[in-house]
């Protein structure tokens, strides 16, 4: 990467981090409160009556899922709202008129989303330590899958923002697609509890693979083969990156 491109990329990333840290009561506090409530209600109160899941206490089982859920929703929301706001306020033109290549623009925004996803994930992890002990079994797998998942959902948020024509449009996908996929993606339960039909159906849900790969990294147990999770995530990242680049260079939704 030559110097000017690197500076452009670092500038976008710095601006993105500055944006979500400036509005921290909207970006960093809500997931902390929501996840703390999940830990208290599902982990401590209800969880203590559920007993073991996958060979671990329910609290231990649910913590990796909840961390992953916060990473997914925050990395997606960050890029979707930031890039759409830039479109809405036309400040995206600052970048479009500059010599910054399209892929650098996309990479800058995506890494901004990854940064928020990982910071929120880290905060949620620290809160989880008040409720349970966490010993990471496979550090490499844990770090790799959480990073790649954040990249994937940041890319998805970026594409959502390119297509969005109103602020409603950036909440439709999280509400009607992301939330159901996450809740049904093995965050709160092992798919072993489901009938074979619903187990098969669950295996079509990409979030299941990411949550289980992360759980495997932390606890050492998973409902699926972790290799498939990495292959799936990399394929989706490749597809979304290609789609994003096509939309940027085609420019129909950003340029007239």
């Amino acid at each position: 990467m030559n110097t000017t491109i690197w500076i452009s990329f670092a500038t976008i990333l710095r601006r993105e981090v500055r944006r979500f840290t400036r509005i921290w009561p909207q970006t960093l506090v809500p997931p902390v409160i929501t996840m703390s409530l999940y830990f208290v209600i599902f982990g401590s109160l209800i969880g203590s009556r559920i007993g073991e899941m996958g060979g671990y206490s329910y609290m231990e089982f649910v913590v990796p899922g909840l961390i992953m859920m916060s990473v997914i929703t925050n990395s997606y929301a960050n890029v979707a709202s930031s890039f759409y706001s830039a479109k809405f306020q036309r400040s995206v033109e600052e970048l479009l008129v500059s010599p910054t290549p399209n892929w650098v623009i996309m990479a800058g925004y995506v890494l901004g989303g990854v940064a928020r996803g990982l910071i929120v994930g880290l905060i949620v992890t620290l809160i989880a330590l008040f409720f349970t002990d966490l010993t990471v079994q496979h550090v490499g797998i844990t770090v790799a899958i959480v990073f790649l998942t954040a990249v994937l959902f940041s890319l998805a948020g970026f594409i959502n923002a390119i297509f969005a024509n109103s602020f409603d449009d950036i909440s439709i996908i999280p509400t009607f697609v992301l939330t159901p996929l996450t809740y049904l993606g093995g965050v709160f339960y092992s798919i072993d509890l489901l009938s074979p039909f619903f187990q098969g159906l669950s295996k079509l849900n990409p979030v299941l693979y990411m949550v289980n790969a992360f759980r495997y990294g932390v606890l050492g147990v998973s409902d699926i083969n972790v290799i498939w999770a990495f292959i799936g995530v990399l394929v989706f990242i490749g597809f979304l990156f290609g789609w994003g680049m096509h939309l940027m260079s085609n420019g129909k939704r950003l340029r007239h």
């Binding site: 500076i7 710095r14 500055r18 306020q89 008129v97 500059s98 010599p99 910054t100």
Partner: protein
């Protein structure tokens, strides 16, 4: 000499079928202060949009200092600064960050971007506002902020799309002085404006665009020479009950103290004053009814409309 901006047969048809540009061509020479004028919807902003990559052209060629935008747009963009008509910065970012960040988008090291930010915010009287969110600025300050942002990478060619719209007269004049200064230092400037007085006092060359076609492209001096008639307002010392006899001049009484008289090219003002003096009408002051360029602009557009009506 390589033109600062060369546009050849530029065409733009929007997705809804509207032909905004019908194959326009013109050149702007290095160091020029160039006016691109036209009524609303004529195609000025579309032209600027294509030059800076916000609008995709349908056909034709654009070169900036000899660099074809189809061949190396990033290199061409490094030579170009644009001040758009609409505010296009994040309203929630601080003034300093908006300008300094733009330097980063052009690959400028942070130290250099910071130094230039300070330089241009000071020159444009915004340094005291550097820590303020952009939304808190007045309209005039927002316009100056966009100029500072466009200059951060010190472009060779600066395009300003109605930079003084909604700006009070005092501020407008200080912006003119600033623009004249950077033009003197070698920056080529293209200006679109609805204030024709602004174009007449700042610019040396002009292109007038109407309905996607260039209807005039010449120097302001030669354009003004083609002005066949000028209309003046004369103020009389005493009240007039009716319009005095004006002989070969065309005129009318606007109110009891003001006359409007049209002078054809070649007619002498001395003759007009002699005629009025003979009738005992003392004139205390006179002024153009409209800016001279405005009269030409209106007549050029009217000619265009007549040609179209006759088709």
């Amino acid at each position: 000499m390589t033109a600062a901006l060369s546009i050849r047969n530029l065409e733009k048809t929007y997705d809804n079928g509207f032909r905004a540009l019908k194959g326009i061509s013109f050149e702007v020479q290095p160091g020029d202060f160039f006016a691109l004028l036209g009524p609303n919807g004529a195609g000025k902003s579309t032209t600027i949009g294509i030059i800076c990559s916000l609008v995709r052209k349908t056909g034709g060629q654009v070169s900036i200092f000899g660099i074809d935008i189809d061949r190396d747009f990033p290199a061409a963009k490094r030579l170009l600064g644009v001040v758009p008509q609409e505010f296009n910065f994040s309203q929630f970012e601080k003034v300093y960050d908006i300008v300094c960040t733009q330097g980063g988008f052009y690959g400028m090291p942070r130290k250099l971007a910071a130094a230039r930010t300070e330089k241009y915010l000071k020159q444009l009287d915004l340094w005291d506002k550097r820590g303020v969110q952009a939304r808190m600025l007045s309209g005039g300050m927002k316009r100056r902020l966009m100029i500072a942002r466009a200059l951060i990478h010190e472009p060779e060619l600066l395009i300003l799309d109605e930079p003084t719209a909604g700006v009070d007269i005092e501020l407008r004049r200080s912006m003119w002085t600033f623009l004249e200064e950077i033009n003197r230092q070698g920056t080529t400037i293209i200006l679109t404006t609805h204030y024709l007085e602004e174009a007449e006092s700042l610019c040396r060359n002009i292109a007038i665009i109407d309905k996607g076609d260039i209807v005039e492209n010449t120097s302001i001096k030669s354009l003004l020479k083609t002005l066949n008639r000028e209309t003046f307002i004369l103020d009389s010392a005493e009240s007039l009950s009716k319009c005095p006899e004006l002989g070969k001049f065309e005129g009318r009484l606007i109110d009891e103290n003001s006359l409007e008289v049209t002078i054809e090219k070649g007619q002498s003002l001395n003759a007009l004053f002699a005629t009025l003096e003979e009738q005992g009408v003392a004139i205390t002051s006179m002024r153009n009814r409209a800016n001279r360029l405005e009269e030409l602009f209106v007549s050029l557009l009217a000619e265009g409309k007549q040609v179209e009506d006759n088709k």
